[in-house]
Each structure stands twice: as C-alpha cells, then as structure tokens.
C-alpha cells in the first residue's frame, strides 16, 4: 500500500541492471558477487571445519565437494572473487573522487564526465579478468 502511494520502484528496480548503461550493470554485479562471496565464505568455513574431526571426516567432505558440481560452483566463486576485487578497487578509487572527471562548463549534449571511458574500460577489464580467471580455474579443477 505505502509502496504504491510513494511509487518507489522497489526491489525490482534496484535489481534491474538494464536501462542505465554499463555503470549500473557494474553496480549490480558488485552486489551479486558480494552476496555470493559471503555465502561461499560461510560455506567454506563450515566445509573446512570438518578437519577438526580427523582424516575420515575431512576426506568425506572432500568427496562431497570435489565433484563436477562442486567444481562448477568453485569456478563461479573464482569469477565473482576476481570481478568483485577488481571492480571493488575501481569503486573505492572513484568514491574517493579519483578518476571521476573534473567539473567544468557543461556543454550540449551534456555528457556526464563521471561516466567516462576510463571507468567503462575498468569495468570491462574487471569482467575480462574474471572470465580469464574462470577459464584458468576450470583448467586446474577439471584438468587433473
């Protein structure tokens, strides 16, 4: 009810990465990868805790995780980790005011200086690095 009256776009709008360019996609990926990594961290700490129960418990856990499914999840985690780290560094620098352009006299067609090619390049590089790391990860995980 209040949602309708205030006409907030709501969760659907926040989580919709289309419409506002690459920077909004980067924001969306940063959020998703952050949440994914947190989920993995919790799982990872649970998974490794089996070591205190001795070799049998540890080997059982390895059996559970060293599967095709487990390797696919790990590959995704590698991608999320690399993207989140690389893009996170871009975001941190940007949020400190570095690389966001210089104020000046706005001129038609009023392109925003903060949405510059350096920012977009860094986003693409983050995505590319994540893709490369995932390929390397797959090679290691499925290679032997």
């Amino acid at each position: 009810m209040t949602e309708r009256m205030s006409n907030r776009e709501g969760l659907k709008g926040m989580a919709n990465p289309t419409r506002y360019g690459l920077e909004r996609v980067a924001y969306w990926l940063q959020r998703l990868s952050g949440l994914g990594l947190l989920a993995y961290l919790i799982g990872h700490i649970y998974e490794t805790s089996s070591i205190v129960n001795g070799k049998v418990a540890w080997d059982k856990m390895l059996e559970l995780t060293q599967t095709t499914q487990g390797h696919l999840i790990l590959t995704l985690v590698i991608g999320m980790c690399v993207y989140h780290t690389a893009n996170g560094i871009r975001v941190m620098l940007g949020q400190g005011g570095i690389g966001v352009g210089k104020p000046g006299q706005p001129e038609y067609p009023y392109k925003a200086a903060s949405l510059n090619y350096k920012q977009r390049l860094c986003i693409w590089v983050s995505i590319a690095l994540a893709a490369l790391a995932m390929m390397y990860g797959m090679a290691v995980l499925f290679g032997d």
Partner: protein
C-alpha cells in the same frame, strides 16, 4: 493492467501532418483508483513535436482532465520530468522523433508519490535539498556597507558552476537504485547540491554539511552506479559531485 482506449477523433482541424503516433498516458488518481490505467490517444506529430506538446495536444483537443505539470517548455523550470518509454526524461526536452517509436508511453517518475496522472509530489526532495543548507555560509556579508563583492576567478567559478545548473527536476532521484527502496536516503539531487556549496570558495559551511551527510542514510548509500548522471538533462553530473564530496570524508581531499 487494464487499458482504456479512447478513440476520439480530434474535433479541431489538424495541422497538415503525415505522421501520427499513439500516446499512452498513465492515468491514476490515488483518491479514487486502485491502480493506474493507460489511456491511448492518436496524436499528429511533426519532426519537432516534443512529448510535452503531444500531451498538451491531448489536453486541448481530446481529454482536458489529464494531469501534467509544466511551465517553461524549455528545460529550465524542472517541472515536466516523467518516464517516457520507460526512461526518466523531461517531456519538453524529448522530441517524439528521437524516440523512434510509433507508440509513446508516458508514466509518472518513480520514487515520488503520485499526485495525479503524470504529476508527482516533490515535497521530500525539496525538504532534503533544504537540509543541505543550499546557500553560502560565512560570517561576513557582501551586503554590509563597508564590504565589497566577493570576487572569484573563472577557475574558482568552474569548480561549482555545473552543479549550480540543477533545475530540481528529480530525474536523478527517480533513476537512482538506492532511491528505489530507501525512503530515508538524501538522494543524488540533494547530495550534489551539498557539493555545489562546499566547492564554492566563498562558503565556510563545509564542516556543517559534511556532518549532515555523514549519516546512515546519507552519502554512503551511494554506490556510484551513475544512473543519476545518465539521466540528468542539464549536465550536472550528480555522481561526480557525490564522489568528490565523499573524497573529503575519506581523506582524499582537504
């Protein structure tokens, strides 16, 4: 969503025009209606017809009850922001011909309460704007008898000029992903104005303003998604202003 189609032919003789489009206007009166419906109108257009002109054509010839706010018709007053084919833009600053579509849908901006149809309520945005103390703060004054004008070099003016071009249209607030769910967030419009005054070398209010924005629903709820700058019609670039402002809080700038 129910669609009500109004196929009234205009009662006036139309200007000679080969083209016409279907204008879909979201109709909603929160007092009586449960949800918005679309009303459709055939509107003749020329190469230069703006979305606002098309809406006004409907008001003059087909249905006078459509609620829309406008004044300057030249992207100066900030009244006519709305969603045009899904994207926030000024109706007076958007030509139908540049939309490349025979169907043009206009809806009220997101993240503002709807007053009626396309008109939305700016109360909260104006209140947040005021919270930023949008005026020069300093002890002395240029009005006192024995003082002079505060002179600024062109370089000093350029530090804040673009941010002072904000027309308070609210498009940035309607595009912002945080604004979509956070009712307490100051929003890109207000934060950009905080920077406009902090960057002005005549102003001494930096400390006060930094304190106001350094709260749980202040500047830190910006994640530099850039959607505000993507839609701003005046080149204000609120995203740049916010990151430069945050530079002070992070110690990157003095």
């Amino acid at each position: 969503m129910a669609v009500e189609t109004i196929s009234k032919t205009p009662e006036v003789s139309l200007p000679i025009s080969s083209d016409s489009i279907t204008l879909r206007i979201s109709r909603f009166n929160p007092k009586n209606d449960l949800s918005p419906i679309f009303a459709e109108f055939k509107v003749p257009i020329q190469k230069w017809t703006t979305v606002l002109e098309a809406i006004l054509f409907v008001k003059q010839n087909l249905d006078h009850s459509v609620a829309v706010r406008y004044s300057c018709r030249q992207a100066s007053c900030g009244s006519c922001g709305m969603r045009i084919n899904g994207k926030p833009a000024l109706a007076c600053y958007t030509k139908i011909s540049e939309l490349n579509s025979n169907i043009v849908t206009v809806e009220p901006m997101h993240n503002f309460p709807i007053i009626r149809d396309l008109a939305v309520d700016f109360k909260q945005m104006f209140a947040n704007h005021k919270k930023m103390k949008p005026y020069i703060i300093r002890e002395d004054s240029e009005i006192a008898s024995d003082t002079k004008e505060f002179l600024q070099t062109p370089e000093e003016v350029e530090k804040y000029l673009q941010f002072s071009y904000c027309i308070k249209c609210g498009l940035c607030n309607s595009a912002c992903p945080t604004m979509a769910t956070d009712e307490s967030f100051i929003g890109p419009q207000g934060l950009a104005q905080a920077y406009r005054y902090v960057a002005d070398n005549r102003d001494d209010g930096k400390k006060e303003r930094l304190k106001i924005i350094d709260q749980s629903h202040g500047i830190w709820r910006c994640h530099f998604a850039g959607s505000c700058s993507h839609v701003c019609p005046k080149g204000v670039d609120p995203a740049m202003a916010i990151q430069l402002l945050r530079g002070y809080l992070l110690g990157f700038r003095k």
